[in-house]
């Protein structure tokens, strides 16, 4: 960065998985036939009125508490006015100067310790409908032949979280998002799936000289739909801005789109450019006063937050493994698995057990601990088979532990010799410099021994014999 500091402010939208929409009783579901989940209210027929979804309010309060926010005693809904076909009323019911949650913070453990990211606000609003532009360039309305609107998503509850510009790198943004996602999943209020759009992230990016006061011009990176794209997009934009400043050029305020395929950034023709939204308090709704018992109930439902668990785990494994365990929801099982080699336990959980696709919640920790402890002494295939079965009811490690690896050189040498004798051509090639053929010989031995040979010993013996 040679003296430049990135300044990143994240705006995250979380779609709540309430049974019904925010202001009507239509079912809140994803992936149904277009325009089958609509009613006069969410289609903005004349005279219809919004009725707030109490669950959505309670869940927003719960999320606000998890973000250490202050909960407003009387929050207000406002109208955000603009014309677009995805907005049937011509305004979106959102929140403005008195959101449900404000002034919070979210701790993101990082390589240099905990980073505290300020939360400006978390507010509740209704989502827009989905527009599909047919013909023209890249699914944009500009130049489209015609556009279709699917109102199924219109009016579904959405929480917008605005973080302070405290994030300092694309990687940190990714960690922030992963933790936030895990938090809303544990609160059981959203699917938070970026591919489906139930978790969306925009980033305001600027850079400044280290030690510089104030902020320079920022750009807005829109709709990055995976954690990796968030990290990559921000990194690319930060580099672009630094390069401009270093070339003596300015950075223009604009909305940008990151193309993950090419790794490039291009300006986005946006419906939201230079708008005056004419916010005013929504006269069809009264102030939202979350009752004290509701706030307390919500508070009681919040468990230990992912960040705190990562901090605990980091002492036993490392930061990446700790993130992996916690943000994959595997840390509860990790805690139930005994064993002195904690890194080994974590690695098995994150790699082989994850690959086996079993439900971590159904696994008996003690039995899994026995397997992990024996992972070097039983055949690899046996180990993997055991992991695959570890979530079965009444699973026990015993039959798998009975099968031991053949690591005795005396037992393996005849097999190895046989293999070498049967493949003179390959032996010749190896000795001629094609050392990559070692894997071939290992594979043959494993096949011969039905996977029971100790791979380390086989490797050693093969090298010795081939190099002799």
């Amino acid at each position: 960065m040679n003296g430049w500091e990135p300044v990143i402010g994240l705006e995250i939208h979380v779609q709540l998985k309430t049974r019904t929409k925010m202001f009507c009783r239509c079912e809140n579901v994803w992936g149904e036939e277009p325009n089958t989940r609509t009613c006069p209210v969410c289609l903005a027929h004349p005279g219809t009125l919004p009725v707030p979804n109490k669950t959505a309010i309670e869940w927003t309060v719960k999320l606000g508490l998890a973000l250490d926010c202050e909960i407003a005693e009387r929050a207000l809904f406002h109208r955000k006015n603009y014309f677009y076909p995805d907005l049937p009323k011509g305004y979106q019911i959102s929140q403005y100067d008195v959101p449900l949650c404000s002034e919070g913070r979210f701790v993101v453990p990082g390589p240099d310790g905990d980073r505290e990211i300020g939360i400006v606000r978390a507010h509740l609003e209704e989502d827009a409908a989905k527009t599909i532009h047919v013909g023209g360039a890249a699914g944009r309305i500009h130049g489209a032949e015609y556009s279709l609107v699917d109102f199924n998503r219109g009016g579904t509850p959405l929480v917008e979280i605005v973080a302070k510009p405290d994030v300092r790198s694309g990687e940190e943004a990714r960690r922030f998002l992963q933790l936030l996602r895990q938090t809303v999943i544990e609160l059981d209020i959203s699917d938070a799936e970026m591919e489906k759009g139930s978790l969306r992230c925009d980033a305001n990016v600027s850079v400044r000289k280290a030690g510089e006061e104030g902020y320079r011009t920022k750009t807005e990176l829109k709709n990055m739909n995976s954690f990796k794209f968030v990290a990559d997009g921000i990194a690319v934009e930060v580099e672009r801005q630094i390069a401009r400043y270093q070339a003596g050029e300015e950075v223009m305020q604009q909305t940008l789109h990151f193309d993950p395929q090419t790794g490039t950034i291009a300006p986005l023709r946006s419906k939201e450019e230079a708008h005056d939204y004419r916010y005013f308090p929504e006269p069809d709704l009264v102030a939202v006063a979350p009752p004290a018992d509701m706030v307390e109930r919500a508070r009681a439902e919040i468990g230990e937050l992912p960040a705190a668990r990562i901090r605990r785990l980091e002492a036993e494994v490392d930061l990446d493994l700790a993130y992996g365990l916690v943000t994959s929801g595997r840390d509860a099982l990790y805690a139930r698995v005994p064993g002195d080699d904690r890194r080994a336990v974590a690695n098995v959980l994150m790699n082989q057990l994850a690959a086996a696709g079993v439900d971590p919640a159904a696994v008996d920790g003690a039995e899994l601990g026995r397997l992990v402890a024996a992972r070097e002494t039983i055949p690899r295939q046996t180990f993997l088979d055991a992991l695959g079965a570890s979530a079965d009811p009444d699973f026990t490690a015993d039959p798998y532990l009975a099968e031991t690896t053949v690591s005795d050189a005396a037992a393996l040498d005849p097999v190895i010799d046989g293999i070498l004798a049967a493949n003179p051509g390959q032996v010749e090639a190896y000795r001629g410099g094609k050392e990559g053929l070692l894997g071939f010989f290992v594979g043959q031995v494993m096949k011969e021994t039905q996977g029971k040979a100790d791979a380390r010993v086989v490797n050693e013996r093969l090298r010795e014999k081939l190099n002799a």
Binding site: H45, P46, G47, P50, P85, P88, G90, F280, D284, L285
Partner: protein, 468 residues
């Protein structure tokens, strides 16, 4: 032979109860009257003529009725047939009141003469050269002209009270929040209320009883603190009546109007009321100006949904989205909605919000406090409903400000969310004069009581002289 000009809704109910007329005969008498006189009056936009066993009713055409076109007097809603009933229409249906038809109004309830209707003006049954008032002019004219035993209107700045006054009938604007707005084509959400137009105060109380009460579809409604009492007494002993100086001496009040109102006030005294002068200086000084910021601001947002995308008028446009919006709205809205959309958009714009909309909301609080202070000393405040009797068609059509002054005396109580009852109290130049009774929140029963006693003592003949 049923004399629909003379028959009150209670009379009509009596005929049905005693079996002296069937529901069909009763409705038939009104349909005959409509056929005879509506070509001249044009009180109705659609005659429906439902069959039923109850006292039939007419609905202002902003009241959404399932399966019956609802135009709000605007071309923008041509071709729109609602798929649901407004709460008030549903309650009337449950009470067994068949719909005679939908009545004319100023376009989107914006106006004070019904001349702004996109479908031509309604004429005053007392003098067809004159307006019936507005915006609920069709409903008022229908009741006065014997074309409906009772009708519903809506009142934002005086749209029930003022036409009741000009047509010599009884009109109630209820306390904000007592009658559901669900299914009422919205003009200004924080001011709109549905109210009954009837020949007598007792009829009015009966219709109010049918429509009032909390509605889960309208978050701004509340449960009535006490049941509706149908008024019976004829004395006013102990009733404290305040006469706000500014509202009774305002510039522009016709001398004939003042004379009738003063006579009614003296009569109240004779009936035992304590009458005393009082003052509401700021309410009258600022009420109108404040109203013409708040109402257009909300209207500019409420009317945004008429974009030609989902229902109603859509301009034949080959071109882009903005052109579709612009052309549709240019063709669909008349001059008055356009004027108010512009006013309201301006009042909400960035940089002007605080000075206009924000300031108007503060003034609104001042007006409410001023009224609340007056109601510490008085049960009811009285004034003329309208400064003038019915004016000539076309007389104010070219001068919006002169037209706006028609609501000078009805607006202050509306801004404060207070109920107001207009009862006819005499004639000036052969045209009806209305007396406005204003009470504190939820004082409808007191207004009915005072209105009923005065109505009996005044002996006003609600049948237009030329039709007797």
């Amino acid at each position: 032979m049923i004399d629909t000009l003379r028959l009150t809704a209670e009379d009509a109910a009596g005929l049905l109860e005693r079996g002296e007329a069937s529901g069909d005969e009763l409705a038939g008498a009104y349909l005959d009257a409509i056929e005879a006189r509506d070509p001249e009056l044009h009180a109705y936009l659609h005659v429906v003529g439902e069959q039923g066993e109850g006292v039939p009713i007419a609905h202002k055409d902003v009241i959404t009725t399932k399966g019956i076109p609802t135009t709000a007097g605007s071309k923008i809603l041509l071709g729109y047939t609602p798929v649901f009933d407004s709460t008030v229409a549903a309650r009337c249906k449950e009470a067994g009141l068949p719909i005679l038809g939908k009545t004319n109004l100023d376009e989107l309830a914006m106006g004070s003469s019904t001349e702004n209707s996109a479908f031509g003006p309604t004429r005053n049954p007392w003098d067809p050269e004159r307006v019936p008032g507005g915006s609920s002019g069709g409903s008022a004219a229908a009741v006065a002209g014997g074309l409906a035993p009772w009708a519903l209107g809506t009142d934002t700045g005086g749209s029930v009270k003022q036409p009741a006054s000009l047509c010599g009938v009884v009109g109630l604007r209820p306390t904000y929040g007592t009658v559901s707005r669900y299914g009422i084509v919205a003009f200004a959400s924080s001011l709109d209320q549905v109210g009954p137009l009837t020949k007598t105060v007792r009829d009015n109380a009966r219709l109010y009883e049918i429509i009032a009460g909390q509605d889960p579809c309208d978050s701004t409604t509340v449960e009535l603190p006490e049941p509706v009492a149908i008024p019976e007494g004829e004395d006013l002993t102990g009733v404290r009546i305040g006469v706000p100086k500014e509202m009774n001496e305002a510039e522009g009040i016709d001398p004939g109007v003042s004379a009738s109102v003063n006579a009614a006030i003296r009569l109240a005294e004779e009936l035992g009321a304590d009458v005393e002068e009082t003052s509401l200086p700021r309410s009258v000084d600022y009420g109108l100006a404040c109203y013409y910021l708040v109402a257009p601001a909300e209207a500019s947002s409420n009317l945004a949904r008429y974009d030609g995308v989902r229902y109603g008028h859509r301009a034949a446009v080959d071109g882009d989205l903005t052109a579709l919006y612009a052309r549709t709205r240019w063709e669909g809205f008349g001059a008055e909605p356009k004027r108010r959309i512009l006013l309201g958009t301006y009042a909400l714009s960035a940089g002007y919000y605080d000075a206009y909309y924000g300031q108007a909301q503060k003034v609104r609080t001042v007006i409410a406090r001023e009224h609340a202070a007056a109601f510490e000393r008085f049960d009811v405040l009285v004034s003329p409903t309208s400064p003038t009797v019915a004016f000539r068609i076309g007389e104010k059509a070219e001068n919006p400000l002169a037209m706006y002054l028609s609501d000078l005396l009805t607006i202050p109580a509306n801004m404060a969310g207070l109920p107001g009852l207009s009862i006819p109290c005499g004639l000036s130049d052969g045209l009806p004069v209305g007396l406005q009774l204003i009470g504190p929140q939820f004082s409808e029963n007191a207004l009915f009581r005072v209105g009923h006693a005065l109505e009996r003592a005044l002996g006003f003949d609600f049948v237009p002289e030329r039709l007797r």
